[in-house]
């Protein structure tokens, strides 16, 4: 038994998107509530219909959200460990809970103030002076922090270098991901950065952690996102055209472990994003393969990770991701495979994952800003880098 086609996404919503710190005095809770109301309106449901929550990453309090939303009865709440890698897992967990009979209408939501209610900045994770141990594995930081390895981008730079070394992947190919993604953002009125860029712009952009330039990095932004999931059965009677969850998977290879904050991965998976087993399982459940995917929304916190995912999801052979993305390979209109048709984390907004889900739903409804013609099957992936990661396949 699997969750194939048991559930459907019936509402999506988000707030305005803001550059870091420009969301004013709105809290993450407020952004979450605003996004949720948009998603509920999209579905024709009300807060009183929600009976479950499915979260990921951090910053949630089910009790707080339940009272703030004024829901009638909370019957289920779950949270995935890890970071943005859990984003699509929330959809999987929601459908599983519906199948189990725990709940019927589940809210998956994430809001982020990357300037932070707390002042934390995810791009500088680990850069703050340390004052002592907190929790299991905290002493591991001694092995990184003292050597100036203090951020996710710096860790991904080491993985990117290995991909370049093994396969001859180039910085210009990383740039090609950024250029295609920005092209899509230029057509998306919600996107933070809409000015088109060229490979030359990418090459001339400031080096941050060589081999990664500024334009290889995702944005630091504020905003809220929400996705409403219910049973395929109930979805039929709702306002929006349902988008069905054909398959879902989460996890990754055990030895990938903490990934970017670990760097001890075996050589044969070091140049991976940690998605390969998830890719195999999500395809198997949905009964499709890479050739069936009309549009892919792939978590893009750093450009090399998109190239790695293209290889792991079988859109090209291992090592051929660099060539795959060249010459507009990811463009919605003329590319080999439309990828991140909303502008992704690189150019639209970076809220840790659900914006990719929202864009996939729009593509399957036929309402996207860069609409892929006759899109029927979409792949959505979540943050590669640490376990667990996750992915879903949606269809209309």
């Amino acid at each position: 038994m699997t969750i194939k086609d048991i559930g459907a996404i019936v509402g999506v919503g988000h707030t305005d998107f803001y550059k870091r710190g420009q969301s004013g005095d709105q809290t993450e809770l407020e952004l979450m509530l605003k996004a949720t109301m948009v998603a509920l309106d999209d579905s024709g449901l009300t807060p009183q219909d929600i009976d479950g929550f499915s979260f990921y990453a951090s910053g949630f309090d089910a009790g707080l959200l339940a009272t703030a939303l004024g829901i009638k009865e909370l019957r289920y709440s779950t949270i995935m460990s890890g970071g943005g890698g859990g984003s699509q897992g929330t959809i999987a967990n929601a459908v599983a809970a519906i199948q189990a009979g725990y709940a019927e209408v589940i809210l998956c939501t994430k809001a982020l103030k990357s300037g932070g209610d707390t002042g934390r900045r995810i791009g500088r994770m680990g850069a703050e002076p340390r004052t002592g141990r907190v929790g299991a594995g905290a002493a591991d930081w001694d092995f990184y922090h003292n050597f100036g390895l203090t951020s996710p981008g710096q860790s991904f730079a080491l993985m990117a270098r290995q991909h370049m070394h093994k396969f001859g992947t180039t910085s210009e190919q990383f740039g090609a991901v950024a250029v295609s993604t920005r092209f899509h953002a230029s057509r998306n009125p919600n996107a933070i950065h809409q000015m088109p860029i060229t490979i030359e712009d990418h090459q001339n952009s400031r080096m941050i952690a060589d081999p990664l330039h500024l334009l290889d990095y995702c944005l630091e932004t504020d905003g809220g996102t929400a996705v409403i999931v219910t049973s395929a059965e109930r979805a039929k009677d709702l306002k929006a055209k349902p988008v069905y969850v054909g398959g879902a998977a989460m996890g990754g290879p055990g030895p990938f472990g903490q990934g970017i904050f670990y760097l001890q991965m075996p050589d044969d998976i070091f140049h991976w994003s940690g998605h390969k087993p998830v890719a195999d399982r999500v395809y198997a459940m949905a009964g499709v393969g890479p050739q069936d995917i009309d549009v892919a929304e792939m978590y893009d916190h750093f450009t090399p990770l998109v190239i790695m995912q293209l290889e792991e999801y079988g859109f090209c052979k291992p090592g051929e991701g660099g060539a795959f993305v060249e010459d507009g390979g990811l463009r919605f209109d003329t590319g080999r495979l439309p990828v991140n048709t909303h502008g992704g984390n690189l150019s639209e907004v970076y809220l840790l994952g659900l914006t990719h889900t929202i864009e996939a739903v729009r593509q399957l409804r036929g309402t996207a800003s860069s609409q892929v013609k006759d899109a029927e099957v979409a792949l959505v992936t979540s943050g590669p880098g640490i376990l667990p990661t996750s992915a879903i396949i949606l269809h209309n």
Binding site: A139, H165, A209
Partner: protein, 143 residues
């Protein structure tokens, strides 16, 4: 092994908070000895140090001293300091080093004497030790 007072990165960013698994590592580093934890039963290395062998599930551990000659597995040049204390130290490199006598271990460190043009995957390096007030750190130089 020589322990030098010269520093690649500043005193102010150096701090260690050893736990019961890593304390031995840092104690040996302070004496100018690079040793990695490995399973006492199946001899599989694990780094950073921890309570159990992921291969055979033994909780028995031992320390294995390595010669300190290795090769660079990956490298980068950090050009934007994320910590104010590092602002005057960019660009600096971060390297991942593998050791033939400790398979499976990668050490995150810095190469003190190689330029961007000189750094490459597979480049031979050797470990040196830099003493700070709060800890001694292993770094590498061209071999």
């Amino acid at each position: 092994m020589t322990i030098s007072q010269e520093h690649y990165l500043p005193e102010s960013v150096v701090a260690i908070f050893p736990d019961q698994y890593s304390r031995e590592y840092w104690d040996r580093i302070a004496r100018g000895e690079l040793a990695f934890q490995r399973c006492a039963q199946c001899k599989t290395f694990r780094h950073p140090p921890g309570p159990m062998c992921p291969k055979c599930s033994s909780f028995e551990a031992e320390w294995h001293t390595v010669e300190g000659k290795g090769t660079i597995y990956s490298w980068e040049i950090v050009t934007l300091a994320l910590n104010d204390a590092l602002a005057d130290y960019v660009p600096y490199n971060v390297v991942l080093v593998e050791f033939p006598d400790a398979p499976g271990v990668r050490l995150v460190t810095n190469c003190i004497d190689a330029s961007k043009e000189q750094l490459s995957v597979g480049m031979p390096v050797e470990v040196i030790y830099q003493k700070y007030s709060k800890a001694t750190l292993p770094r590498v130089r061209k071999a």
